[in-house]
């Protein structure tokens, strides 16, 4: 049974190891607004920030072209850093890039690797905690979106989405709807219906 919980709400009478929780006097409490499944012991955040991890895909904007590095704006408190040595193509200030996270350092900087310049298309933001729902189980949702709208879609774990080609408006509407209704069940069917109507 799923229920919505708020920070400080008791999840379990025993100490359970979970993300976004704290243990106080042997009991487990939530620290975020989330959806808690007490059978599977899973707490899914409703809103939330991106916590970078190795291998995450990100979409960002080149903010500064330094001597040996590029600074990348990732729409988060973390700063992105690209080392020029590993950049294959010419990048300029204002360019949009897709990259993956190579390493994190202690100074809130995310070192990126394998950058790819994105030209044209549209960019918009979603809540980072809803990204897994947009991708779907085994990338099902995003596959459904790309096949029915014929769009190129890149969803960054930092919540920045890039789309190009095909029915862009429909793809955007669908992704924003997934974001809004992420905590409801039967969402895949509703999105399929929405996409088939066009």
């Amino acid at each position: 049974m799923q229920r919505i919980v708020i920070p400080g709400e008791k999840l379990s009478d025993t100490a359970v190891r979970m993300h976004n929780t704290l243990v106080h006097q042997g009991k487990t409490y939530s620290t975020i607004v989330g959806l808690y499944n007490d059978e599977k012991n899973i707490l899914i955040p409703m809103e939330g920030l991106w916590h970078p991890a190795y291998g995450d895909t990100v979409v960002g904007v080149i903010e500064e072209d330094r001597l040996n590095t590029y600074n990348v704006n990732l729409n988060s408190p973390y700063k992105g850093l690209l080392i020029s040595k590993f950049v294959q193509e010419q990048l300029n200030k204002g360019d949009l890039v897709e990259a993956s996270v190579k390493e994190l350092d202690k100074t809130q900087t995310v070192v990126l690797m394998r950058p790819r310049k994105l030209t044209g298309g549209k960019v918009f933001m979603i809540t980072p905690s809803k990204v897994p729902r947009v991708l779907g189980k085994g990338n099902n949702m995003i596959k459904e979106l790309t096949t029915s709208t014929k769009c190129n879609i890149i969803v960054g774990n930092n919540g920045v989405v890039w789309i190009k080609g095909g029915n862009m408006q429909l793809a955007m509407d669908a992704i924003l709807r997934i974001q809004e209704e992420a905590h409801t069940s039967g969402l895949t069917d509703r999105i399929k219906e929405m996409l088939s109507k066009g």
Partner: protein, 246 residues
């Protein structure tokens, strides 16, 4: 504080607005009212009307304010020029609003998990549109809802309420007139999980017994305030869930 003759504040055991000594004014909380903030809330508490918004975490600027160990909280409490009968807010930040900004900041430094976001800042804005006594308590209550809705991890959702003394009677949630002529006024912010005080200020004086009675009233009424906060935080998600399930 205010001059002139002291009016009769309690008539036949009832207060001026018809409340008993331990009654709260009606509270209404509206979540997500500001689109550009990470989280926001609008509170109507009696005649108080307050908007609270939370931004961030973002890079701490100017750089010397940042802390490499944890996030820093910056808070701005402001009264609108039209918010009250006195000169509150008419000439920008003053001694009073700087003080309230500071105590609000300290409440949230003790509940927000700052260690998760080193080197960043979290901004809290509390704007009083209409003030009628107890705005710092209402502001903290609103900011707590805004903070929860922004998705920043926190240990608890704090609430605040004031207690006071009229003559020898301990009363809860003073309004402007009671505040101006009462013998004591004590705003308290509480962490409901452990009932720890996060803010404790007092004008006037209490005896030891009256202080204990006041704290009991605050913790008892806090359940009602916390329930209003909980309902407001859950409402936007419940609405969508109810629409599609069953």
């Amino acid at each position: 504080m205010a001059g002139g003759e002291k009016p009769e504040l309690i008539i036949n055991g009832k207060r001026l607005d018809g409340r008993g000594p331990a009654d709260l004014r009606p509270i209404k909380i509206e979540p997500n009212v500001v689109k550009n903030a990470a989280g926001s809330a609008y509170v109507e508490w009696g005649n108080n009307k307050i908007i609270a918004a939370v931004h961030g975490p973002k890079e701490a600027l100017p750089k010397h304010t940042s802390d490499p160990e944890k996030a820093v909280i910056k808070c701005r409490y402001m009264m609108a020029p039209f918010s009250s009968l006195e000169g509150h807010g008419r000439t920008g930040p003053n001694r009073r609003s700087i003080e309230i900004s500071k105590v609000t900041k300290e409440v949230f430094e003790n509940v927000v998990m700052l260690e998760l976001f080193p080197g960043t800042e979290i901004d809290i804005y509390v704007e009083v549109l209409q003030g009628d006594g107890g705005t710092r308590a209402a502001g903290i209550t609103a900011a707590a809802v805004a903070m929860a809705l922004s998705g920043i991890p926190m240990r608890d959702v704090p609430y605040a309420v004031s207690a006071g003394k009229i003559g020898e009677m301990v009363v809860l949630d003073l309004n402007m007139i009671e505040d101006n002529y009462s013998d004591a006024d004590m705003p308290v912010a509480v962490k409901p999980l452990t009932n720890e005080a996060l803010l404790l200020q007092m004008d006037g004086s209490f005896t030891k017994e009256q202080f204990k009675e006041a704290m009991n009233l605050i913790i008892e009424s806090g359940k009602e305030i916390h329930q209003a906060q909980e309902e407001a935080i859950k409402r936007p998600y419940k609405e969508i869930m109810d629409k599609y399930e069953k």
